[in-house]
Symmetry: C2
Subunit: 206 residues, 2 copies
């Protein structure tokens, strides 16, 4: 096992370092975030740092890069308080990845990728029609991360759309059966295979 110190890591080329640090934190819940500005012009962008914050209230957090790098999603969320999160399956991951390109503000990533916006009134933001598991959120709070000008965005779940056949008897969602992918690093996409669900752990020895 090799040891890498932060001084070594800092000395690396930025792309090498970016790939290394980005993959170190492990597999990620890659999804598409759909928004629209107040005038209804849609935007779609891929995000991979999405976390569960709590079930009651039902809160989800995600990391938004600095505004210079990724302004449109966060701008629309500030304007409308609304966004959708859409799982990415194996049939759409290439189109999903393409949303990470820098398009002008008036250009809809739906148009350029061929993904289809699905509107569910009165929800202001578009969903991705091709996505098999998707949910809408209402902005709760945007927390600036002073260390690197990123943002931790907290939203409350308002509506969830999925096929009932994906549900286990206890509410667990078989997202692997919807072919939802995981990502790794900046550009790696992975399918998954269930090993196990374990019972609630009690304080006795293994």
């Amino acid at each position: 096992m090799e040891k890498f110190t932060i001084d070594q890591i800092k000395s690396w080329d930025r792309f090498y370092r970016g790939n290394f640090i980005n993959s170190l934190s492990g597999f990620k819940s890659v999804s598409l975030i759909g928004t629209a500005n107040a005038a209804g012009i849609p935007n779609l962008a891929i995000f991979s740092n999405i976390v569960h914050l709590g079930a009651d209230p039902a809160l989800i957090g995600f990391v938004n890069r600095p505004l210079e790098a990724a302004p449109h999603t966060l701008g629309n969320i500030k304007e409308t308080k609304s966004y959708t999160i859409n799982h990415i399956h194996i049939g759409i991951y290439q189109q999903a990845h393409q949303t990470s390109a820098k398009y002008p503000k008036d250009c809809s990533e739906f148009d350029v990728t061929g993904l289809t916006p699905a509107w569910h009134s009165p929800i202001h933001s578009p969903f991705v029609a091709e996505s098999k598991i998707r949910y809408a959120l209402q902005l709760e709070e945007i927390i600036p991360i002073r260390q690197n000008n990123t943002f931790f965005v907290i939203g409350a779940i308002t509506d969830v759309f999925l096929d009932k056949s994906l549900l286990e008897n206890d509410g667990f969602i078989k997202i692997d059966e919807a072919d939802s992918l995981a990502s790794l690093g900046i550009d790696g996409y992975y399918k998954t295979e269930k090993i196990d669900r374990l019972p609630y752990a009690k304080a006795t020895t293994v």
Copy 2:
């Protein structure tokens, strides 16, 4: 496709709702966090909501549940500013899951699960010797999430340990070849299979 509103979801039994909301956010980077208090008594606990915040500086965030539910890891981090994150592979996921049981403060999860602490002086916190990818962090900031009394904990990476054979030529870490797992919900464990790595997306049509 079925629609579930938040009012319906709120009406569900808390275990059903917990499984549903926990699995909705997608696959997670499940890992073991190792800490020790100032006296050196080790603690080990499983965490699944870990996100990449940035590569330069190299920052990782994780969500800590409310203090009543999970006091020991955060207490030690506050006391020493030090913690380690250790990937979980298929050979240790049952022991890793067992660390989620509520043990008394003076009881080391290393002892009860049979996982082995690995100390790398001068790093204050223990690593998991069985883990094939592990890294040490220095606390940067603990951000309280007022909506549900959780915490978003930000740390700077100081040292990384892994086998060089896991690295691609461009710094990407093949964590699947170390059998690192993803998790889903509270209790689901998944292995992964790489589908693809995609090139940097440029603003042309797909």
